[in-house]
Symmetry: C2
Subunit: 553 residues, 2 copies
């Protein structure tokens, strides 16, 4: 029995199923913030809707409210003043648990229908969301619109689509008829019911409060689990708006809105209490290695999907488009001041330099050229401010300050003034160079706009080192620039052994730190940077169980 | 590029895909040990092939052989005298690791083709396997043929089929073309490669050395992982024959046979060393809660699929076929002397008795009638010996001896003589009765032919108790006899909440302890008896990763 919301959104679901099977370019949520797509007044309406949240209580009718908290501090220096209800952890768990039977009974079609309706509404509010993402994370506005809006919605739809695909493989019922020779057959009727595993906890990060939260949230929801969303204390508003939309759609459809709740707290102990609660069966986490390891060690009652830190690496061996290479890498290193889990940190260059159409370029010159390319790219203030955004955390500011001692400074980080947001913390990338042997410097994650041009003996040593970095430190992205087929083959084999996605010779409008919904797998789950990939079958299939019953007919 | 073995077995794979989607009755491996199916001389040839293994070395050309061991002691008292190579654990790990790149490169079609060829050959040797399973496990011959042969092969084929289905969702390559308005589109070529997670370890049990070993073994293999098979020290031969067949097929196809090796040891420390080795990424385990918990606590580098102990429960509330009920349960409790992970241990009966077409039957009478039904069913010695088989372990013999003190003896266990195997340890079921409050007696797993008729206040109390047993102790099977729709609904809801498969009113030729390949999910993974189900998507999808590469075209 189909659900009206399932029928309503079935064309989107069918197209998404096809897209995941072919992995070409596809997105139903357009990334262009255009009035033609989103409506003539969408930009102004969205800004007004965002402004309306500021300086007041964000009302959510959740159980166990014990107080209100307003922990967000904008990297742009803007006073947000939004306060959120703080709820008792046990009350949230109890409320979530109570919703399970009805959420299960809604069935895969009903749950998927609800999720798709939610996504359509979230998409319609992409302008509002863009400001919420921008001002809590420090992303520039265009990026906040795209990554925080349509791109995040794409990943959510991927999760729902994969969930549907996996659930649809389980028939709701079957007739089993076993021949018995000359005797009548044995006949049984069987029913197979998809059952969520329990309460899911989704722990968000401070830099991508929707993009990294939606996959786990919607994967858990679609497969029958109630979800408690625990946003990073500095990026609550995007999660809160999302949760409010979900709760509205649930309530409109006669479902207890406590299927999804928001857990706000600045105290890690509260997150730890939630994470180790026996009722919590699944945790999606994006954040530091330290807290990820704590979850692995302590939240052992739950299945953990964790995306943590790594040392993303690019090797430059040779190129047929040196200028394109430099432009491409300058953008990668500048975008959102390098505060992406996919930003390149280590740039391996052979000691003898690299081969280019303009001739062999020595190691030091490659470093200098890259520094100059960054400088040139950021020479236009409007471009610079739009691309860099602001630095999200104090810790990253401190890292930038102390990092110059880690190597030879190729390009110093500069603080930029942002006329629109005078208190914004804007920093340009810091580029250092060092020897491969200085592992303590370049082979630890230095989150933020800090990169190293690392001198390796030769291409073979670089491939070997890149593989070791991925294996030991983890990585979400690996890049190679080479016109040499043998080097490409060697690095490809290394990427397969180490388990990391490889981008080859990016010299135009695709960047190593970007992954496209419905096409690129984000992380592999095969190296220490993440134990799962958005949003493959492994990310989905273990979130539900099949419980059967059978009887003779 | 398809593989010849994939093409050869594609019709079987296609039929299996269809069977898993509809979950009606289907099996390509016929369970009837008939000369018409398996060949006129198959029975004699199989027996001769089995006999040829006895009293000598089982040659396996594996690396790191340090000695030979012959630990098997037949429950039928037969001298087996097969000795197996004992290999250095690190040598097995190293050899397995070295096979990974070539096994990966064979691709999903090649690996699935190899697996299907292996299964066809194992099927052709079902008679040989039946004797190996019978004489190592104590299963009666018909059961050893069916459960150790075709039914185990069915579960293996399920695993391969689900693996194929999940891998086939990942396209090997894609063209990604993103429009850029009036500018030329961004175009990328992408390749997506399926990569196994690492060395897989499959730890077998003493009672079902093929049925419980094949799902993990073939799931891991098909998805690109080399496998080390560690059989139970008392049931090595069925695993060794299986491993030898796999190695033959691998070698014939130019693949290093060390993709699959056999690890023989009586020393748990060796298994522990393998299980905690950093190269081991996946463990399939069937066995005790104690060792399962040890693996959870210590083998944390690996993903664990564990099937352990539980307290399987049936509630009898009412029936429209009391005789059928008694016959059905008598068979269930007798089959393989109750040494199945699915055998009922607790039979909940309301204090006021049960409603039947012959009137209300009081509690004590239900217990007595069930005891009498078992006694009657086993009154024919040929039937009794064939169904009971022999008791697999000394521990189970001791449990039978000490169990009478746990309750009121309804039917005592008897030792039977087996003329064909004079030294066989044959025991009839022990049936006790007790009060629900005697939880220390009936609510711990008593593996073997030991069951309890448990007095509960009423049907509602019984449903509540059944749910608690499943939640706290785990269960693979739950049964209910009731003609009352409300009681059926209540127990159905309880089964969904607790996560256990429910069989309703089995009074003919299907038994609560049997699960049919391609139709029934074996275990749910949702209660403490097992954290996974044979052989659903969750059992498969986390065994491989997708590693991509992309470049502009």
């Amino acid at each position: 029995m189909a659900h009206p919301l399932f029928d309503k959104h079935k064309p989107t679901l069918d197209a998404a199923l096809g897209a995941l099977r072919t992995r070409g370019f596809w997105s139903p949520y357009l990334e262009i913030p255009s009035p033609k797509v989103y409506g003539e007044t969408a930009a102004a309406d969205g800004k007004a809707a965002f402004d309306a949240w500021l300086g007041k209580r964000f009302e959510l009718d959740q159980p166990g409210i014990t107080g209100w908290a307003a922990p967000e501090r904008s990297p742009f220096g803007v006073e947000l003043g939004v306060s959120y209800p703080v709820c008792d952890a046990q009350a949230l768990i109890d409320a979530a648990t109570a919703t399970m039977p009805a959420w299960r009974k809604l069935g895969p079609e009903g749950r998927v229908g609800v999720c798709l309706e939610v996504l359509a509404r979230i998409n319609a509010r992409s302008f509002e969301m863009s400001h919420a993402v921008m001002l809590t994370t420090g992303q520039g506005w265009v990026m906040a619109f795209q990554a925080g809006g349509p791109h995040a919605q794409d990943r959510a739809l991927e999760a729902v689509t994969t969930a549907w695909r996996e659930m649809a493989e389980v028939p709701p019922e079957a007739t089993w008829e076993k021949p018995q020779g000359k005797n009548p057959p044995l006949v049984m009727r069987k029913q197979f019911e998809i059952v969520g595993r329990g309460v899911a906890l989704v722990i968000g990060c401070g830099t991508f409060p929707t993009w990294n939260t939606y996959p786990g949230l919607f994967a858990a929801l679609a497969t029958g689990n109630p979800v408690i969303v625990k946003p990073h204390p500095n990026a609550i508003l995007p999660a809160a708006i999302s949760v409010k939309i979900i709760r509205e759609v649930l309530a409109e459809n006669g479902i207890d809105p406590n299927v999804v709740t928001l857990a706000v707290s600045e105290d890690p102990a509260v997150t730890q209490r939630l994470a180790t609660h026996p009722a919590v069966t699944t945790i999606d986490f994006t954040g530091s290695n330290a807290f990820g390891q704590w979850l692995m060690d302590n939240a052992r009652q739950a299945t953990l999907y964790a995306e943590m830190a790594g040392v993303n690496t690019v090797m430059i061996e040779s190129t047929d488009n040196y200028k394109g290479l430099l432009r491409n890498m300058a953008f990668t290193l500048s975008l959102y001041s390098g505060q992406m889990c996919t930003t390149t940190q280590a740039i391996l260059v052979p000691a003898a330099g690299i081969s280019t159409p303009e001739g062999q370029v020595p190691f030091d010159q490659v470093a200098a050229d890259l520094g100059a390319a960054i400088d040139k790219f950021l020479s236009d203030p409007a471009t610079a401010l739009g691309v860099l955004g602001a630095v999200q955390s104090e810790a990253t500011l401190r890292r930038i300050e102390s990092a110059p001692s880690l190597g030879k400074v190729v390009l110093a980080s500069r603080a930029l003034e942002n006329p629109e947001f005078p208190k914004a913390n804007v920093r340009t990338p810091l580029l250092l160079s060092c020897d491969a042997a200085d592992e303590a410097a370049w082979m630890e994650e230095r989150f933020g706009p800090i990169s190293f041009v690392v001198k390796v003996a030769d291409a073979a040593a670089g491939v070997k080192l890149a593989e070791r970095v991925v294996r030991e430190k983890g990585a979400i992205t690996l890049g190679l620039y080479s016109t040499n087929a043998d080097v490409v083959d060697d690095m490809t084999e290394a990427s397969l052994r180490a388990g990391v996605a490889l981008s080859l010779n990016l010299t135009s409008g695709v960047f190593v730190n970007q992954s496209a919904g419905f096409s690129d797998y984000h992380a592999t789950g095969a190296n220490p940077a993440a134990n799962a990939s958005y949003t493959d079958a492994a990310f989905i299939a273990n979130r539900f169980r099949v419980v059967q019953r059978r009887w003779h007919v």
